[in-house]
């Protein structure tokens, strides 16, 4: 079938089988290898992408489910001018990553959180990213990074 959806701000039409996993479609067919696969089972969150602004697991999403949706992968998180998203910037500055394999999924999970809750508490951040495993154990600095984003956005607002 041909699946049509918006991908990182552009319309795409791609010939694929309806049961192809979104993660394979993105990584192999569309060349967007920034989305990572780690468990293939929905347990780890590494493959998270935004579908209509909500974080979804691309290893459990089939190509047909993307039809007509707005999809953002880690490659589409930067602004149009290539400017880093505040979450990306904060991750760099707080040192919120080590090996970096969970990072794309983690950034997506945080963006999803801030979309629905712009000023989460540290515990709310913990809960929101609890579906994303980081085996390097960078959680503390990830929490720090998200708190920085929240602090900065409050500063801007005032």
């Amino acid at each position: 079938m041909i699946v049509s959806f918006e991908l990182n701000g552009k319309d795409v039409h791609v010939e694929t089988s309806s049961d192809r996993r979104a993660v394979d479609l993105l990584r192999e067919d569309l060349g967007l290898a920034g989305t990572k696969e780690s468990c293939g089972n929905g347990d780890c969150g590494a493959c998270s992408i935004l579908v209509d602004d909500k974080a979804r697991l691309s290893c459990l999403t089939l190509a047909a489910q993307l039809q007509g949706r707005k999809v953002v992968t880690i490659e589409g998180v930067c602004g149009e001018d290539g400017r880093l998203h505040p979450v990306q910037k904060a991750f760099i500055e707080s040192g919120a990553l080590q090996c970096g394999y969970c990072t794309p999924g983690m950034v997506i999970a945080v963006i999803d959180l801030l979309n629905s809750n712009p000023s989460p508490s540290r515990n709310e951040i913990r809960e929101a990213i609890s579906g994303n495993l980081c085996r390097c154990g960078a959680y503390q600095k990830i929490l720090d990074a998200v708190e920085e984003v929240v602090k900065d956005s409050k500063k801007e607002a005032s």
Binding site: E28, A33, K36, G95, Y101, S130, N132, R135, C136
Partner: protein, 766 residues
């Protein structure tokens, strides 16, 4: 990234972070090409059997399948292993664990590859599986390797210290306990994978996720019968390793696949389940401790017996055992005793290198023994540790004289004055209803490097590019720990160049130089020392060149500054780019070699123990404190606070230091409370993250990581290894905190809610 020269001791943000947050960092998983081949492995699926026949007649007929390869297609020794080459690339006639690789399928698509793997039929004659290391030692146990010299013992050894067992009678108090630690899975998020191609000149190029590119190259060549110079290994960003990629995973299988793919590139990428079944784990261990002291708390005697389950192959099991034996007495002066250890073959999953490397296991033994002893002699556990803490010039338990910085006393003193310690009684009293609280500590020592015999060296290389910038060739892998950032920092600070102008070349056996494995807490110590030399030679060479150009006699009057070389007395400058263009390309490259100093102490006459690393010369130290709360209804353990004070030398980069300490502690927390890789009669039952539980953001407490900042004179800018020390602290600190709360020392890990409930029930019975 910073546009100014980096300072040592100040945080330089990781250069790789920008690529990683944008999803642009390329891992070996990220290689695809139209028309590439998928290669996958048929696993044995049974723990012990004679393999009589591999029937792939159906598999080969499936559409898309290109080839099925077996041991008959292997041209070399078909053996791999670091010390003892006892693991077949593809099984010939004997299956020794469920994850053994039996055949490889090459196919056009992943789906047809998976189907073909299922269609391969193995004809086997089952053998009794040896899955309990204690039973494996019995005379009637089935042999895992029939030709092994010492039945099922891979490596065994004993060391007697001082008066040995005779000192037991001189003790006023003795405690005895037997601890068991479980099998732990690395669970790096990037499973084992790689990408390989054979060119028309017969050269193999392999891009893969590994900690050991240069060693892999030799292993592949030997196992497959290839010329070393025809094998190239390239290591891009690595998605975690923690010891699990210290050695061959996909490499040889992938190389063999590429040799049968008619020049097409081949991709191999293990699924999570396959990774769990086939990869190495942390050794399960049984540790019997008898610890004795004088009435005043002076340690006098230790008798330790260590049994480790190494699975069917050496991997690095012998080295893990030797390090465990060496560290079995912890960071204390213990003048007399015996340590007896053995690493035992079984048909369980393979055990091997895992961050902490045997020290994690024995630290949990000696540190729990210390708390049992403290209670028995009625002494404060921190005071008992301080009283016996090693100082430079002391001999450690195996008799090695400490000649390098020894900061365990400072670590313990830091905890002693920490509010979490001084106010612990108040905190414990404030436990809520149906909660119990306890505070526990642990003191840790961790050696770094390879030990006295295997040379621990690195070759650093720096190039001045035609653009007048510097390129650093990293021969040691950065699997996430950030050593490549430290490399930028070192070169940037010595040459006074903007950090973001320094280009990194990641490990590549054709471009970078052999520098050993990314393991043993050695990367920044060994490679960093080599790199400092290279940067200094580069600076000297450029200053000399500038002096010649300006017709000045003394190159000392010159210094490098960002993008120029300046004559300090006059202030005149020559751009580096100009100098670069006046130099021959060979002159623009500097290499330097560093070999780590080794222990001269002959602590044992057993050459085998020395070959396997005993003793070490340089040690990091840490004291850790855990505040835990127990739920009396559910048995759930919550670590409310965790603090570490570490002596890892002078800290080059505070942010990287914190990352290592926090990350190591979280893995140690997983070992203490959650992670249990289960194999029942050799069959793995924890096959995914819903049954194998690693800590999530909800489980990980914020960790306070205090650096002692003690300068180590042999270290690069005074630093020592940070990579492993933090992993060893949580299990004993948490167990001791539960002991503090309940009066019961839990001897098995992970410490489950059930075991805590049992301990609490015992109290109510009393």
């Amino acid at each position: 990234m910073s546009n100014r020269p980096a300072n040592i001791g100040s945080t330089l943000l990781r250069p790789d972070a920008l690529l990683k947050v944008k999803g642009e960092a390329r891992f070996s998983t990220d290689f695809y090409e139209k028309g590439h081949v998928w290669a996958g492995v048929k696993r044995a699926g049974r723990p012990h059997a004679i393999l009589k026949n591999i029937d792939y007649s159906e598999a080969i007929k499936l559409p898309g399948v290109i080839a099925v390869l077996t041991h008959k297609d292997v041209g070399g020794t078909n053996r791999q292993g670091v010390i003892k080459k006892d693991q077949p690339v593809l099984v010939e006639d004997r299956i020794r664990h469920c994850g053994d690789a039996v055949a490889i399928v090459l196919s056009d698509t992943r789906r047809s590859m998976e189907e073909a793997i299922r269609a391969i039929k193995l004809e086997v004659e089952p053998l009794p599986a040896v899955t309990d290391p204690r039973l494996s030692l019995k005379d009637d146990a089935a042999l895992v390797h029939e030709k092994n010299e010492d039945r099922n013992i891979l490596l065994g050894g004993a060391i007697t210290v001082g008066k040995g067992r005779a000192a037991e009678a001189e003790c006023d108090e003795i405690i005895e306990a037997t601890f068991e630690t479980q099998r732990q899975e690395h669970a790096y998020l990037e499973t084992e994978n790689g990408w390989a191609r054979l060119d028309d000149q017969g050269r193999l190029e392999i891009v893969c996720s590994t900690q050991t590119p240069f060693r892999d190259r030799s292993e592949i060549a030997e196992a497959l019968g290839l010329d070393l110079k025809n094998v190239r290994i390239i290591v891009p960003y690595v998605g975690g390793a923690f010891g699990g990629k210290d050695g061959i995973t996909v490499q040889t299988l992938l190389a063999l696949s590429a040799m049968h793919a008619a020049g097409r590139p081949v991709k191999m990428w293990w699924s999570r389940e396959e990774s769990f079944i086939a990869s190495v784990k942390r050794h399960p261990s049984i540790l019997r401790y008898r610890l004795g002291a004088k009435r005043d708390g002076t340690l006098h005697f230790l008798d330790v017996d260590i049994t480790m389950d190494t699975g069917p192959y050496d991997h690095l099991g012998g080295v893990v055992l030797a390090l465990a034996m060496e560290h079995s007495g912890g960071p204390y002066r213990i003048p007399n005793g015996v340590v007896d250890g053995r690493c035992v073959y079984t048909n369980n999953p393979i055990s091997g290198a895992f961050r902490g490397f045997g020290v994690t296991q024995v630290s949990s033994g000696i540190e729990r023994a210390m708390d049992l002893l403290a209670v028995k002699i009625g002494m404060d556990p921190l005071e008992l540790r301080l009283k016996n803490a090693l100082r430079a010039g002391d001999r450690n338990f195996v008799g090695k004289t400490l000649t390098t910085s020894t900061g365990i006393t400072e670590c313990l003193e830091t905890l002693a004055s920490h509010p979490l310690w001084t106010q612990r009684s108040f905190w414990k009293r404030n436990a809520g209803i149906l909660k119990k609280r306890g505070v526990g500590i642990s003191a840790i020592v961790h050696g770094s490097g390879y030990g006295p015999i295997v040379p621990d060296y690195a070759n650093a290389k720096i190039e001045l590019t035609g653009e007048g910038k510097f390129r650093v060739y990293c021969g040691v892998v950065d699997m996430g720990q950030g050593n490549s950032t430290a490399n930028v920092q070192i070169v940037s600070s010595i040459l006074n160049q903007p950090a973001n102008d320094i280009e990194l070349v990641l490990p590549d056996t054709e471009r970078t130089l052999p520098s050993g494995s990314a393991s043993a807490s050695r990367c920044t110590y060994t490679f960093g020392n080599a790199l400092i030399s290279a940067a200094k030679i580069m600076k000297e060479r450029l200053c000399r060149k500038a002096a010649d150009l300006m017709m000045k006699k003394d190159p000392q009057e010159f210094s490098t500054t960002p993008i120029t070389i300046r004559h300090l007395p006059t202030g005149s400058e020559i751009p580096l780019k100009v100098i670069a263009n006046m130099m021959d390309s060979s002159e623009r490259i500097v290499t330097a070699y560093f070999r780590a100093p080794v222990a001269e102490d002959l602590v044992t006459g057993d050459y085998n123990l020395r070959l396997h690393g005993m003793p070490h010369n340089l040690f990091s130290y840490a004291a850790n404190l855990a505040c835990v709360e127990l739920d009396e209804i559910t048995g759930k353990v919550t670590v409310e606070n965790y603090a570490t004070a570490s002596d890892c030398g002078n800290v080059l980069n505070p942010q990287l230091y914190e990352q290592q300490i926090q990350g190591g502690a979280i893995q140690g927390l997983g070992l203490a409370l959650y992670e249990d890789f289960v194999a029942v009669e050799g069959h793995v039952t924890t096959k995914d993250f819903s049954t194998y539980l690693t800590p999530t953001s909800m489980d990980a407490p914020d960790i306070e990581s205090i650096a002692m900042g003690i300068y180590e004179t042999t270290g690069p800018f005074g630093s020592k290894g940070i990579g492993e020390i933090a992993t060893n602290g949580p299990l004993p600190a948490i167990a001791n905190a539960i002991f503090d709360a309940t009066g019961h020392m839990l001897e098995k890990s992970p410490i489950t809610p059930e075991s805590v409930l049992t301990a609490l029930t015992e109290i109510s019975k009393e």
